[in-house]
């Protein structure tokens, strides 16, 4: 496509806008003039997904599942209403599925066809999740991808990769780190990283091997 007009404006008005910035600004102006858009609604959408919806919400779900076995059972059986119990839900997570890591099985989430990602619990996806290297390799070389994230699993741990090819959205319920008995829900949530809920990471403070601590 041509960027000539934007470039032309750029030169003549001495603006600091790049061609893409000028093109996007012009498009918003056009769509607003035509009455299809309210710029104040765009501001609110950006604010919602930049400042309010993010992986801290998924971390609350995980922490609750770690401390409340009945909630964990509801979450694994039917995730969307269970997550809604915490007031969490919405666009891009209307049909949630939570998959549980065990000592035998590790779960990894990808969208090979585009960028499907559970927005209400994790926010908008990072660039690497949407970019070709991860989308290409997660399904054919999950151990290699995990190694690039610094995660090395025992050979005996089986890996299940969940390719998000429809409107179902997956979140991983990671293993609760050893040594966190008695932690509050808030303290547990602080251990839950975004990547742990995608499956490309593990919760913080997870020892490689359980260590017997003297009391």
């Amino acid at each position: 496509m041509s960027h000539h007009h934007a470039d032309h404006d750029h030169v003549h008005h001495g603006s600091d806008l790049s061609p893409v910035e000028a093109r996007v600004r012009a498009l918003e102006s056009l769509l607003t003039e035509k009455g299809y858009l309210d710029p104040a609604a765009l501001d609110a959408l950006v604010e919602l997904y930049e400042t309010k919806v993010g992986p801290h919400l998924g971390a609350r779900v995980v922490a609750r599942a770690w401390v409340d076995p009945a909630f964990r059972a509801r979450l694994l059986a039917e995730a969307t209403p269970a997550i809604a119990e915490l007031g969490i839900g919405g666009r891009g997570g209307e049909h949630m599925v939570v998959v549980e890591n065990t000592p035998e099985t590790h779960n990894l989430v990808v969208c090979t066809l585009c960028s499907c990602y559970p927005w209400p619990v994790l926010g908008l996806p990072p660039v690497w999740y949407k970019a070709p290297p991860y989308r290409a390799r997660a399904v054919i070389d999950p151990r290699g991808v995990l190694a690039e994230f610094g995660v090395t699993l025992p050979e005996t741990t089986r890996i299940t990769v969940w390719d998000s090819t429809a409107e179902t959205r997956y979140m991983v319920l990671p293993l609760r780190p050893a040594g966190t008995e008695g932690f509050s829900e808030e303290a547990l949530a602080a251990l839950v990283t975004r990547d742990a809920m995608i499956g490309t990471g593990l919760p913080k403070a997870l020892p490689v091997e359980p260590v017997e601590m003297p009391v």
Binding site: M1, E21, V24, R25, A26, L27, S29, L30, L31, K34, G35, L37, D38, A40, A41, L42, D43, L45, V46, L48, Y49, E50, G54, G89, G90, G92, G93, E94, H95, V97, T112, L113, C114, G123, L124, P126, V127, W128, P132, P133, Y134, R135, A136, R137, V139, I140, P142, V145, E148, F149, I159, T160, V161, W162, D163, S164, T165, A166, E167, T168
Partner: protein, 219 residues
């Protein structure tokens, strides 16, 4: 369509490069493209499947060379022109030259957060019984539609089994090009990594996809 978006199993893209402390957006224009795409989708002029189809039907070289929100921008411009909501000339100038076309609704700031926190479910009802049940052996059909589909190439022709009946959903293959929602049963299908990738597959590994009933046949 067998486009550049269908990346599962491709080689040569290099390592995954996570960005520490990554911001949600990397430039101000990305914020506006993100929000414009959502708000224009909200007008009802097209649907989510149509947006995906518009993105993946960019020429493969252009798709792979474009950043994520650049793909969204190009697809949005394409959809505006295709629906007549804006002409290519208007998009170039940023000024209206034709009267606006009516749209079903315009996203307002008031109540926006509640609407997006409620979501827009794509589950539907059907009278048709589900053809498959958990445990059933199935084979993904070896189909190559030139229009939008959500059956990735790497599972076509492969054998797996049903692990979950997910319910009935809008069928993207027709919804994407205005041929109706056609509520269709959706299944989670598990394939062994070695069924998909031969000897190079991770031993004991599994890959699942969410597959609509017409993508599958009994195996």
């Amino acid at each position: 369509m067998n486009g550049a978006q269908d990346l599962g199993g491709a080689h040569g893209f290099g390592p995954v490069v996570p960005e520490p402390d990554e911001p949600v957006f990397h430039a101000a224009w990305e914020r506006r493209v993100f929000a414009m795409a959502l708000a224009m989708g909200y007008t009802g002029a097209w649907n989510l499947d149509g947006s995906r189809a518009a993105r993946e039907s960019l020429p493969p070289a252009e798709y792979l060379a474009s950043s994520y929100y650049a793909i969204w921008l190009k697809a949005l411009e394409k959809q505006l022109a295709a629906t007549g909501l804006a002409t290519p000339a208007e998009i170039e100038t940023g000024r209206a030259a034709e009267p606006a076309k009516p749209v079903a609704r315009v996203l307002a700031r008031d109540g926006l957060e509640e609407r997006f926190r409620a979501g827009f479910p794509s589950s539907r009802a059907t009278d048709a019984p589900a053809r498959f049940a958990p445990g059933d052996a199935v084979q993904a059909r070896n189909i190559h539609p030139t229009t939008h589909t959500r059956l990735p190439r790497y599972v076509r022709g492969k054998r797996g089994h049903i692990v979950r009946v997910d319910g009935v959903f809008v069928y993207p293959d027709t919804s994407a090009h205005g041929a109706g929602e056609n509520p269709t049963w959706l299944y989670t299908v598990a394939f062994s990594a070695q069924e998909l990738w031969g000897e190079s597959g991770d031993p004991g590994g599994t890959v699942t996809v969410a597959a609509f009933e017409p993508y599958l046949e009994p195996a």
